[in-house]
Subunit: 218 residues, 2 copies
DNA sequence: CAGCAGACTAAACGGGCGTTCAGCGCGCCA
DNA sequence: TGGCGCGCTGAACGCCCGTTTAGTCTGCTG
């Protein structure tokens, strides 16, 4: 059985890497011929190895999910939380994988929903640790809160992508590091403010919302 | 000079409406022939009226922006804030326009960035009113906070779109009302919690972030 | 050495795309 | 009434797409 690693010099792997980059740059509308040229092979070889364009995309998705999974495993078994955060912050190590994920989140599809679910679960775990440590407040709906925070991150990425296409910011799919620093330049302070100080002064609104929801569906 | 209103029975308007719906449903990859068929005209007539597919999309964008602008104007001149909110909540009145905007936000392009800017400005105004009324806390960066809140909304829409494509939720581009209620079912409580109770217990993090940012770029 | 399997390619196929073009019919104005 | 403009169409064009096919080269295996 082959691993995803010792494949890395074969034409198959070269095609997959080229596709990752092309799809991240140009979206999933990019043509097979462009991917083949990038990889230095003929269009027919792409079909030979992956069966179809959908097969190629599925292989990219699988590869990305595997990379994420193995990274997560490594983080859990070998690193302290502080090291994990530092690793996460270093976007360069992910190469085109990050751009591909951003593109998937914008385009939808199976990888996007699986990635969202993974992120929600990871966020929920991470928040639970914070709650236990006392740095994070407990929630009346931990799963919902985690999902809400993931939605927030997706929105920030989407705004970065929109700004990039309008030429106002570096693209998260092309220059993830530059895009990330540009994003943090304006977003960190509002984020910290929203996370540390209640935006709304009326604290009863939460109870009212819960009551309202319970009334609608018992 | 023709207005956008008394056009509404002409073939040109029918094509534009069909395009709005098609693009919202299937994305901007949808073909001209599909739009033409929906409108009950020939593909050539689409080109005759709009010059090209890009021209058609530009016309859709312009129409949507005009609808938004006139709606905003009407809200400002004739309605109380409470009526405005009620109007906003009634998504049915926007018809395919809402779906088209969601699709644009996912796909990027000029409409998306202009719409985001509009939303940011409107949110900033709205928050300023809240601050003056005492219901909203003041911010150290009102513009940034408004943008952050818009990013949050975009993220919720994007998540709804992803869930819809995975068959787990109604699509915001097809059934905006159903999608909106499904969204509010899980998101309102986390939102209210995050808006009324600080997620992080260490209130000095905001000051630290501001200090850090000021240190990096004086 | 024969033969076979698999990596790989050049060329072509069918189809959908956006777009062009020549012309048809109908209402308006001289 | 003749002609002109315009909304509109059917048919075609060229392009690019994903995919197929037939075949070459190479290296392993009996």
């Amino acid at each position: 059985m082959r691993s995803a690693i010792d494949d890395d010099l074969t034409a198959r792997a070269r095609i997959r890497d080229a596709a990752l980059l092309r799809f991240a740059r140009d979206g999933f509308g990019a043509g097979l011929r462009a991917v083949a040229t990038d990889a230095g092979v003929s269009p027919a070889l792409v079909i030979h190895h992956f069966g179809s364009k959908d097969g190629l995309r599925a292989a990219c998705d699988a590869y990305v999910l595997e990379r994420i999974r193995s990274q997560k495993e490594a983080s859990l078994t070998t690193e302290t939380p502080r090291e994990s955060m530092a690793h996460l912050a270093d976007l360069t190590q992910y190469g085109p994988v990050f751009g591909y994920v951003v593109r998937s989140l914008a385009a939808g599809g199976e990888l996007a929903s699986r990635f969202v679910d993974d992120m929600v679960a990871a966020t929920e775990d991470y928040l639970a640790l914070g709650v236990a440590a006392g740095t994070v407040s407990p929630s009346v709906d931990p799963a919902g809160r985690a999902r809400y925070l993931v939605a927030q991150s997706v929105g920030l990425l989407q705004l970065a992508l929109i700004d990039a296409e309008a030429g106002r910011a570096p693209s998260p799919t092309l220059e993830p590091v530059a895009a990330f620093t540009a994003l943090s330049r304006w977003a960190v302070v509002p984020a910290m403010e929203m996370l540390t100080e209640p935006l709304l002064t009326d604290h009863d609104l939460l109870a009212a919302a819960i009551h309202e929801l319970a009334r609608e569906e018992p």
